[in-house]
């Protein structure tokens, strides 16, 4: 492929190509630069400068044969130039300068190799560092690892672009101020830090998953971004059962997206969904990831993501809702509750018990949660209680609970669903 042959016919096409290259290369590019400079914020600035240079030059010169290497070479030169300009002519800069000068072709240096992969993993752990707030971790991960633009992230999280830009800048500064080392943590620290990474990925997924039933389809793209990040992580850290568990959980949940909304955008609950619309490819993939997680850990209870994936898998395996193994689901919820006790998990267990043993067996569990302050504004508590009461024939009480739940939810589709149930009592 010669540059002339691939010369873009117009600036718009060149820009789209550069953006596509950015999506593919940015994580590796930034990660490599972060190792060189020891500063994730500076690495991102250098990488962005290289992208700007590409946008200026590629329309005229055509795309280089190896665009990732081109971007890296430009960014590294800028770094060296910057260090020189500041007259901080320390040994490191000299050394880098010499390396660059000696290299026959700087493009040769940055082939895809294990080294770069380690750097990408370091980048993920750094972007998800607990020194940052959750919002900052999410923004930085989407920006540095997923390669999204600030505009895209702002749009997905329903804030203005300047607000999101400020959040990213603050996060980068916070990493610098805290002198967060560019490394994958080892030993006892790894578990806690990995939990932070997984939390960020799942937060991104849930942001998208909650949106699919609402009004914005663009935000649903976050589900795809999160799954992509999860698969990336699974390939980079293949020995961690919880990583595969999270991938399984996201893929099995996402398999239901095509069935979750009916006509007029009304939400369809899990048991009423047309299961033939579930995405079989994602289910197969998800079940494979779950099997991998289990074989790695040698048990079912390795962690909360594997358990939640196991729960999702119970539904995925049932071709019709009536085939669902509710007894197993109730057991899995019990395991999850003993791992990380939570009133929400307990509420879900109540639902499973109701399905396995009937509403009368589940009502005491739900009633025991009535005073829980954590569930005070949680619409699913009255919603579940309403469902149990309706099935016990206590219609007036059920109606009141559905109406209470409808008043508590912020999601229009969900509210309509609850009001329909109230009217049916």
């Amino acid at each position: 492929m010669t540059p002339a042959a691939s010369a873009a016919p117009d600036a718009g096409a060149a820009r789209r190509t550069a953006e596509a290259v950015w999506r593919i290369e940015s994580a590796r590019l930034i990660a490599g630069l972060a190792r060189l400079t020891g500063d994730v914020g500076l690495a991102e600035d250098l990488a962005q400068d290289a992208l700007v240079a590409a946008l200026e030059q590629w329309p005229a010169t055509g795309m280089p044969d190896n665009p990732g290497a081109w971007l890296t070479a430009v960014a590294r030169r800028r770094y060296v130039d910057g260090v020189r300009r500041q007259a901080v002519f320390d040994r490191k800069a000299e050394q880098i300068g010499r390396e660059l000068a000696e290299a026959e072709d700087p493009m040769d240096e940055i082939e895809f190799d294990a080294h770069v992969e380690d750097d990408v993993l370091r980048l993920i752990f750094t972007a998800c560092h607990p020194v940052l707030s959750r919002d900052a971790r999410v923004a930085l991960t989407l920006k540095l690892v997923a390669g999204l633009s600030t505009e895209q992230i702002a749009h997905a999280f329903l804030v203005s672009t300047p607000t999101m830009a400020a959040r990213v800048t603050r996060a980068k500064k916070a990493l610098g101020d805290a002198r967060v080392p560019f490394e994958v943590p080892a030993g006892a620290e790894l578990e806690a830090r990995l939990a932070s990474v997984l939390e960020v990925v799942y937060l991104i997924f849930n942001e998208g998953y909650a949106a699919t039933a609402g009004d914005s389809w663009t935000r649903a793209d976050l589900c795809e971004e999160a799954m992509r990040l999860g698969r990336m992580l699974a390939a980079l850290a293949p020995d961690e059962p919880e990583v595969h568990g999270l991938v399984a959980l996201m893929e099995i949940q996402a398999s239901r997206i095509p069935a979750r909304t009916g006509q007029d955008g009304a939400m369809i609950t899990l048991l009423d969904q047309d299961r033939s619309r579930w995405n079989r490819l994602l289910i197969t993939h998800g079940l494979e990831s779950l099997a991998r997680a289990r074989s790695l850990s040698g048990s079912e209870v390795s962690g909360p993501y594997v358990l939640q994936a196991a729960l999702a898998a119970c539904h995925a395996r049932a071709l019709v809702a009536a085939d669902t193994d509710w007894t197993r689901i109730a057991t899995l919820y019990q395991m999850l509750a003993s791992l990380s006790p939570s009133p929400v998990v307990e509420l879900n267990r109540a639902v499973a018990v109701a399905m396995a043993d009937g509403p009368a067996a589940a009502l005491p569990i739900v009633d025991s949660l009535a005073g829980d302050p954590a569930l005070q504004h949680y619409h699913l508590l009255p919603s579940v209680r309403g469902d149990l009461l309706a099935r016990l024939g206590r219609d007036a009480e059920a109606r009141a609970e559905f109406e209470r739940a409808a008043a508590m939810t912020g999601n229009a589709a969900e509210r309509a669903h609850l009001l329909r149930r109230a009217a049916a009592c």
């Binding site: 999506r23 795809e224 799954m227 992509r228 390939a235 993939h285």
Partner: protein
């Protein structure tokens, strides 16, 4: 969005003759690993020669007639495929340009999503279409 990458067969692949392709295979293994590590690969398989394949032709009356392979015109046949989850067709093109093929023809096609029909036909028809595709096992 999802895209399907259709790799066309060639005379060697149709013969099932992979001798002399060791280097290509190693490069393809590396490429697949790269796809995996980027998180975009949903599926990817190679197909055996069409001599092991079948075709089923349906008459106007719906009657099925089975035709045994091999089939002519190797370059019209599919020799393998991937399904990728990417953010744009441009990204898919850039990924494909990195593949270590030589003298090959590879096609990129976007997978239809229900949203493609939004506003074009009525919701009932979308549902019916979806059900139809589900029944024929074409849902992704």
């Amino acid at each position: 969005m999802r895209v399907m990458v259709l790799v066309k067969a060639n005379e060697d692949s149709e013969r099932g003759d992979y001798s002399g392709h060791e280097e290509e295979f190693a490069a393809m293994g590396k490429y697949n690993e790269e796809l995996l590590k980027s998180g975009i690969m949903l599926a990817g398989e190679g197909l055996t020669p069409s001599s092991e394949g079948k075709r089923v032709a349906f008459g106007e009356d719906g009657a099925a007639r089975v035709i045994d392979g091999p089939f002519a015109e190797a370059k019209e046949l599919v020799g393998g495929f991937w399904i990728w989850q990417v953010s744009s067709m441009d990204e898919a093109v850039e990924w494909l340009k990195r593949a270590p093929f030589k003298g090959a023809s590879v096609e990129l096609r976007r997978v239809v999503e229900p949203a493609d029909f939004e506003g074009k036909i009525s919701r009932d028809l979308i549902d019916a279409e979806q059900r139809l595709r589900d029944q024929t096992g074409q849902q992704g």
